[in-house]
């Protein structure tokens, strides 16, 4: 069964940064962009499993800290010419609270 779970205040996630949610399905990185959009991806880079949460966020992208692949936040797809995809999770922000669908 899936349900929305409350995870944090929006302000707990740094702008152009991320926090990590520990779930039964592995770590989930929750990102916040410069315009306060929030996205959630499995915290594993499609290249060699690097923790995307630790990368640099720019536009709607994150650059993996290990070897510099750049991953799209809305769809988890690597920027060409790299190929690969990380799974995404649904997130929403309501009244300054961030919810994750698990």
């Amino acid at each position: 069964m899936t349900a929305w779970v409350k995870i944090a205040l929006l302000e707990d996630i740094p702008r152009l940064g991320a926090r990590v949610v520990k779930s039964a399905r592995g770590n989930i990185a929750v990102f916040r962009t410069g315009e306060d959009q929030v996205y959630a991806l499995h915290d594993r880079c499609p290249h060699k499993g690097g923790p995307l949460s630790q990368g640099i966020v720019h536009g709607a992208w994150v650059t993996c800290p290990l070897h510099g692949w750049t991953i799209g936040l809305p769809d988890g797809c690597a920027m060409a010419p790299d190929q690969g995809r990380t799974s995404c999770f649904e997130v929403k922000v309501e009244d300054g609270l961030v919810w994750l669908k698990l």
């Binding site: 740094p14 640099i56 966020v57």
Partner: protein, 816 residues
């Protein structure tokens, strides 16, 4: 706004590159229509040589497939030659009756081969070497006939001759001048080239003037020269030059003078009409190599997009012959003249010839045969107009005479087998790079990095990759001018311009920089943001705010990220000296947090490896309680000050190296820099602290100290250069600090001291740090001011509950 109409005449390399550049910056501005006289979509003309030689197929060299045109909504008319431009009604009309209306027109009609005005030039079996059709003709003849004569011993002629020879023909090259490729080579190199081509089975007739092509039943049979000699010929290839294709423009009354005349924005005399490529003449010059045409394309696109930025100011070109197994490179004024000097190395037996032409202290010409490893390096200096007098002694030995690591010290791409590893970091072999260049139509180092990852990590193989590029695409490869290379894809501004703008406009935040300098992205990227953050805090200490989100994770988390996502912790050990109490605290931490590995580093301290991120703040608290602070092993910052035992204990010691090392490290604690900074202090010239390969190295003598700067022990070992001699500890501190502050203020992000000093010159450094006492003192004081009040980041993070929170994982209640 209704979409404007752009019509492009000429579906070749320059025209389509302009369209690609335009689509990048203004994808929706125009509806585009392209006319091409050839029946093919745009292909890589350069690679006709390998197609002729049988190394590639026509299909391999297509650059833009028909689907590409469709995807971008471009109307493509192939096999459709435009014969008229109606400037009044703004329409072009093709031979087949197709018409198109334009708001802007781009002429990219290329060039046409020159046909010698001799009798018989219209016989069957006479061809040029320009397009796919010519290649098909030559391939057909090579299958059935025996004798080929190539008229013209230039680049194109030799590539044609080589291809025909590889297809089994008996080939004679006829040339008017006393040596081959006289426009690109001097006599010595020209003769060496001839020798190597003769070894491949080609024959040469030099200083011959063609009088007539002799025919029989409408087909060519022989070539006769003015001296009466005659050679048999079933196929004659004319490669005696090209002429800008201006017929269409001239007929439309557009001003031409040997080519279509354009200004620095690639505009013709009709402001609605632009022109790029081999058909144009710009400041009196027509270019016949793609690198300058691509530069034109980029500038032209910005004007078509109404950005109005960028001017084309002409190009310096270089030459490379695409004949497998022959290494040849030339650029600039390689013949020399009255005001030039030459440095020459000529090894006849080894088949190597190198000539460098200097005018004063600048390199103005290069001619290399046999060993072209340093071609790109010389070319870069030539283009940059760099002052070379400091390296004049060793200039001839090239950039690599010390050797790089990670690819067995190989420096010659031509000698490498396809399976040989070029990039040791990413495991990329030569064959895959060549394949990517050919199949994906790559032209720049950046492209190769993106597609293959070669040279994308430590960069030590960059020289090799550049050579491979040059050997695949010939003169089309041009290294960018390093001084105004854009910082990254977000901007066209260089590091230098950005630093200057930050200083002049007193910019204090990244959004300010991005706004003022019109970045193309909303908040930069992973490559420019860390650089901007550094430029801001180093230019405006205590005023600009540090932005942790613009720092690489290591600097944000104050620890080194490991391949499995864990971290390592390296406490500072001032000057490499520790105490039982500190060692005990490290041991306690290692046990308490179950740290799997404890290692002594190459920088005289201890590394705790495999730490969980959540544990970092607690570990730091424990270490801080024992008086330890961050070692910044993760930062573009002060790393270590290595010391030897010195006069404190050593029987040879002349100075107290440990004490001085500790003082230096304490002074520089918390110093951020363009790249990491390492120092060493040795107590005597035996130099046990290896001061000769440090950013700043200090060597104690009876009479004082020698200071060395800009050494590097990493990817490419570089010996530090002597800066000056000083007498006291206080002077060591002042001079070292002044040097480092100069680097901090003027170095580019990720440029280590060795590269910084190479760029600005040691003389400049000496002028600012040694000769001018006032400048030295000012630099020294600015550094001390920047470092004032710096707090240990570990203690600070451990103390602040808000900052600690970012190290914690968020637990969730999972739905059942």
């Amino acid at each position: 706004m209704s979409t404007l109409k752009l019509v492009v005449v000429g579906n070749g390399m320059a025209g389509m590159r302009t369209v690609e550049e335009l689509l990048k910056i203004a994808p929706d501005m125009y509806h585009i229509t392209v006319f091409g006289a050839e029946p093919h979509p745009n292909y890589n003309r350069i690679l006709l040589s390998p197609v002729l030689a049988g190394e590639q197929t026509v299909d391999d060299i297509i650059l833009n497939r028909r689907e590409w045109y469709a995807e971008h909504g471009i109307t493509l008319h192939t096999g459709s030659k435009v014969t008229r431009i109606d400037r009044a009604r703004r329409r072009v009309i093709a031979e087949d009756g197709t018409e198109a209306e334009y708001d802007r027109l781009l002429l990219a009609t290329g060039a046409t081969p020159v046909i010698l005005p001799v009798p018989g030039n219209d016989l069957a079996g006479v061809t040029c070497f320009r397009d796919i059709q010519d290649v098909e003709t030559m391939v057909r003849y090579s299958a059935e006939r025996r004798h080929a004569v190539v008229i013209g011993g230039g680049l194109l002629g030799l590539e044609a001759a080589n291809g025909l020879r590889l297809r089994g023909m008996d080939v004679t090259v006829v040339h008017k001048h006393p040596w081959l490729m006289e426009k690109q080579l001097d006599a010595v190199a020209g003769r060496m080239l001839q020798q190597s081509l003769e070894n491949k089975g080609l024959k040469f007739l030099l200083e011959k003037d063609t009088e007539q092509l002799v025919g029989e039943a409408g087909h060519v049979r022989a070539v006769r020269f003015k001296d009466g000699q005659q050679v048999p010929a079933d196929l004659v290839v004319m490669a005696v030059g090209i002429r800008p294709n201006t017929a269409l423009a001239e007929a439309a009354g557009i001003h031409c003078n040997r080519g279509i005349v354009v200004n620095d924005t690639l505009q013709t005399f009709d402001p609605r009409i632009y022109a790029v490529g081999e058909c144009v003449v710009h400041r009196g010059i027509s270019y016949g190599l793609v690198a300058p045409l691509f530069e034109q394309a980029k500038v032209c696109a910005t004007h078509l997009a109404n950005f109005g930025i960028g001017r084309y100011a002409g190009s310096v070109t270089s030459t490379k012959l695409k004949v497998t197994g022959i290494d040849l490179f030339s650029a600039g004024n390689f013949m020399g003249g009255e005001h030039t000097d030459e440095i020459v190395l000529h090894d006849k037996v080894g088949g190597v010839y190198k000539k460098l032409v200097l005018e004063g202290d600048r390199l103005v010409g290069v001619c290399l045969f046999g060993d072209t490893a340093d071609g790109a390096w010389y070319f870069q200096m030539l283009k940059d107009g760099k002052d070379v007098h400091e390296i004049r002694d060793t200039l001839m030995f090239g950039q690599n005479h010390l050797g790089d690591t990670g690819h067995k010290g190989q420096t010659q791409a031509a000698a490498m087998a396809d399976e040989a590893e070029v990039c040791g970091c990413n495991g990329v072999c030569k064959g895959s790079i060549v394949k990517a260049i050919k199949e994906q139509g790559l032209f720049t180092l950046e492209d190769v990095r993106k597609h293959t990852k070669a040279s994308a990590s430590c960069g030590s193989c960059t020289g090799l990759v550049e050579q491979i590029l040059a050997s695949c695409i010939g003169g089309a490869y041009q290294p960018a001018d390093s001084r105004d290379k854009p910082m990254c894809g977000c901007t066209d501004h260089s590091h230098g311009t950005v630093r200057q703008a930050i200083r002049e406009h007193k910019l204090l935040t990244i959004p300010d920089v991005i706004r003022l300098l019109q970045w193309r992205t909303p908040n930069g990227c992973a490559s420019c943001r860390p650089a901007l953050n550094y430029y801001l805090i180093s230019t405006w200490p205590h005023e600009a705010q540090d932005d942790p989100q613009s720092r690489f994770i290591n600097e944000r988390a104050h620890a080194n990220i490991q391949k499995d996502g864990s971290y390592s912790v390296v406490p500072r050990m001032w000057g490499g000296i520790t105490t039982p109490q500190a060692l005990r605290a490290i041991a306690d931490v290692a046990e308490k947090y179950r740290i799997p590995t404890v290692k002594v580093t190459g920088g005289q301290r201890i590394d705790l490896l495999g730490v969980k991120k959540e544990d970092l703040p607690d570990i730091w608290s424990d270490l801080a309680a024992a008086g330890m602070v961050s070692g910044h092993a993760y930062g573009k910052s002060l790393r270590t000050v290595k010391t030897c035992v010195g006069a404190e204990y050593c029987r040879f010691g002349t100075q107290l190296s440990m004490a001085l090392g500790v003082k230096l490290e304490k002074m520089l604690f918390g110093m951020w820099a363009p790249h990491k900074v390492k120092l060493a202090v040795s107590g005597c010239p035996r130099n046990c602290a290896e001061a000769g390969i440090k950013d700043v190295g200090v060597i104690g003598l009876e009479s004082g100290y020698e200071l060395y700067v800009a050494g590097n022990g990493g990817i490419k070992t570089e010996v530090a250069q002597f800066l000056c001699k000083v007498a006291t500890d206080a002077e060591v501190m002042e001079y070292s600090a002044a040097f480092l502050q100069l680097y901090r203020e003027e170095g580019w992000y990720l440029e280590r001291t060795v590269h910084f000093v190479r760029r600005v010159g040691l003389d400049y450094v000496k002028a600012r740090v040694v000769d001018d006492a006032a400048s030295r003192k000012a630099l020294y004081e600015r550094l001390l001011y920047a470092l004032q009040g710096y707090q240990d980041p570990w203690a600070e993070l451990a103390r602040d509950p808000r900052k600690r929170r970012e190290f914690q994982l968020i637990p969730v209640e999972e739905p059942a």
